[in-house]
Amino acid sequence: MSETIQSGHRRQELFIKKSTRVAASYLNRAKALSEMPEAAKPFFNVLEDTYVKLRELSEKESRKTIGTLCVMVPSELIYAAGAVPVRLCSGSYTAYSIGDDTIPRDACPLVKAVMGFGEIKALPVFEQCSLLVAPVTCDCKKKLAGVIDSVKNTVPLHIPPLKKEDADTEVFLRELYRLIPVLEGATGREITAGSLAQGINIVGEAQYEMSEFLWYRRHDPALLHGTQVMAIMNAYSYMPADAWARQMHRLNREMKSRLEQGKFVSRKNQPRILVTGSPIAFPNLKIPLLIEEMGGILAADETCMGERGLYDPVSVIDPGFDGMMRALASRYTKPCTCPVFVDNSQRVYRIRQMIREHKIQGIIYHVLRGCLVYDYEYQIMEEEMGKLNVPIIRVESDYNEEDVEQLRIRIEAFIELIKLKEYADLQGWKNLNKNKRK
């Protein structure tokens, strides 16, 4: 018996050693990118506290925490219940290898990493959660909700696969009403119209700061590195929204002064790349880092751990309790561009919009191995980008570092291709003008 306990401890020790090393290495690489804003440091500190120093959410916080496994869980409801949401979608390679023993081989690495944390019990933020809310989105998350229940009390949240009709939103609304007593039971606090309005305001503040930040992010040349933006967005998962919004406000002020001083992190002609596809969860910042280390600039992302999570605000028309609930149900399904929905043509429009606004020159379509829903949409995206003459590549990756060199070569070649294309387009345009003058 004592031998088993000892080997369990040994395993945990090894896990901690390895996982903290990987997380610290990615944090350092992201920080090492030129001109990191001073105001971005608190976000990095949060990631460091969570993954390297292995601290709980916040020593000052006395509120309970509720773990969520997707951006489709309304954090407003959790705040309204007096708790803090923690998004547990992780990119930990070490947790992935632990989860690999329990979860089927072909499942996506994100699900394996979550299960790995559940099993090893070494991530305080995970252990701290009183409850997990697991949205039933894709097949892997659906089955994960059943499996992870053995290590942590989990409540599945049904996401309807259709979202266009009002009847579809009604399905989700009923699900949210079902979630209320569960959250109240976990926190011991009643969700009232007042607390819900407060919850919506807390998240709304963060969204407001985010929308301002996005304005700065669109600037060409870039004001800060996309990898650092991904880290900042990931920090939202482990911070109360109000604290995150306060730091974001500071960052926005710094962005403003950078803009006024003309302090940029990229050159004018540096290829601007958008990343879309499977989530990029900390510490798996492999793809953003490769893009920026190879001379590109990650100008935007269309991923759930990035911009998508905070892009659309809740718009309350009827301020009554039911009105707010309806607004939540609508916000978490209708504008969502997650490919788990049957008809997700909105995602194409959103990417088109992002290409225009962020002056995107190339797209990296990230597919985590086993993430079939994103893979299905690649073909549509490829056709649409072909029409817009925007180069796109599909990059398949896993939670390990074995494929880094191969990815580096592909991303480097892609960046070169964008540069050549821009040059050819420019020459073509010049020749056209010459001919016109003649």
Partner: protein, 402 residues
């Protein structure tokens, strides 16, 4: 329509192989013809009003038009290749095959019903919709409780309305009642057949006859023919106990003509006693008319559904637990088709059950290609030997097949 010659050859080869293993009863002819018509003549005629991709649709709704819909279950290797350029590499062969059928030009004027049991079915529905086809989907609330039963009823009613709109006539209570009765009769007949045929037909043949249910145009006729076959089997001499180890086939459903696994099981010296996937189990789930009167038919369907659409597939677990205690099963072959990840997730739960009951389980992962057949054969033969050894230890030498 793509070149059908390879497709026809695939059907012909499997049918020939299958017929060789069947006894020469004239009552079996109907089922063979039924399958040939479905996969060849009906596909070319392409005049079905309603097409269902998958089997997980309340049958009384689709039967209300008076004849069976065209079921696309997705067992063809050739049709799966027709969709190769459209779907991602890791897509499961069943979805590929189903999509291949429809994209070959089939069902352009039909209403296509798609039960959303997995990620692939959702995306498949979108691909077909975006190509201008008339598609109706129905999804399954992933946790079964009182409130989700109501949710499922809404789905059921939406499906009923979509069918009525397509057929341009209301689905009356009387018509629904009639189709419920016909299905109930058929299921009762299937149960009888399964019990009687155990000692007279081999597992693959039984699987084939059961599968022909989804090929029938006229359910009453199919039912009558099954009754005749069951009567014939009842008269025939029962086989002596073969001494072979009996296995239960669990996991991903096996659809005609993809009979690679059942053929292999029987060639490895095992007896395929029972197949228990969600399609087969739904066929065997007989519900009496009395119960149908008491309970909403949508509720019965939802409660008994054993598809992988649920967070925890308790219905399947209960059915398997019952089956394992009722039947003499020596081992379980757990079949996982590449890309059908849900079955792999469910295996963990089942393994605990098998361990409790001391039944060995063998996980077999494959797709519709034949490249892995020799490797699978070796593994299955090794499993067969293990089971024989166990039988030998339990019952003595004379009970073990050589």
């Amino acid at each position: 329509m793509p070149d059908l010659s390879t497709y026809k050859k695939e059907m012909k080869d499997v049918l020939q192989r299958l017929v060789k293993t069947m006894p020469a009863y004239k009552e079996l002819q109907f089922f063979v013809k039924c399958v040939i018509n479905h996969y060849l003549a009906d596909l070319e005629k392409n005049n079905s009003n309603i097409v269902v991709i998958g089997s997980n649709i309340p049958e009384e709704l689709v039967l209300v038009q008076g004849k069976m819909p065209y079921w696309i279950l997705g067992g063809s290797r050739v049709s799966s290749m027709w969709a190769d350029d459209i779907v991602p590499r890791d897509t499961d062969p069943v979805s590929r095959s189903g999509l291949g059928y429809v994209l070959s030009g089939f069902a352009e004027k039909s209403l296509i019903l798609i039960p959303l049991v997995s990620d692939s079915t959702r995306k498949l529905a979108y691909i077909l919709k975006s190509r201008g086809l008339k598609v109706h989907t129905c999804h399954f609330p992933p946790v079964k409780d009182a409130q989700t039963f109501l949710e499922w009823r809404r789905q059921y009613e939406a499906c009923r309305d979509a069918i009525a709109l397509h057929l341009k006539r209301p689905l009356t209570k009387r018509a629904l009642q009639k189709s419920k009765e016909r299905i109930s009769m058929a299921k009762m007949q299937i149960q009888d057949f399964m019990e009687v045929s155990q000692d007279t037909l081999n597992g693959t043949s039984r699987m084939f006859i059961l599968g022909s249910y989804y090929c029938a145009d006229n359910l009453s006729e199919w039912n009558f023919q099954l009754e005749c076959l069951t009567a014939r089997l009842r008269r025939e001499h029962k086989r002596q106990n073969s001494g072979k180890s009996k296995v239960l086939l669990l996991g991903s459903p096996i659809y005609f003509p993809n009979y690679k696994v059942p053929f292999l099981i029987e060639e490895s010296g095992l007896e395929l006693l029972w197949q228990a996937d969600y399609t087969t189990l739904s066929m065997q789930g007989y519900t009496g008319l009395e119960q149908m009167r008491k309970e909403h038919v949508a509720d019965i369907f939802y409660r008994n559904d054993t598809s992988p659409a649920y967070v925890k597939n308790d219905s399947l677990y209960e059915r398997i637990e019952k089956l394992l205690t009722e039947k003499e099963i020596d081992g379980v072959v757990y079949h996982v088709l590449k890309g059908q990840i849900e079955y792999d997730f469910e295996l963990g739960h089942f393994e605990e059950l098998f361990e409790k009951l001391n039944i060995p389980v063998f996980r077999l992962e494959t797709d519709y290609n034949y490249q892995d057949i020799e490797q699978l054969r070796i593994r299955l033969e090794a499993f067969s030997e293990i089971l024989n050894q166990r039988r030998y230890r339990r019952f003595g030498k004379e009970t073990v097949a050589v």
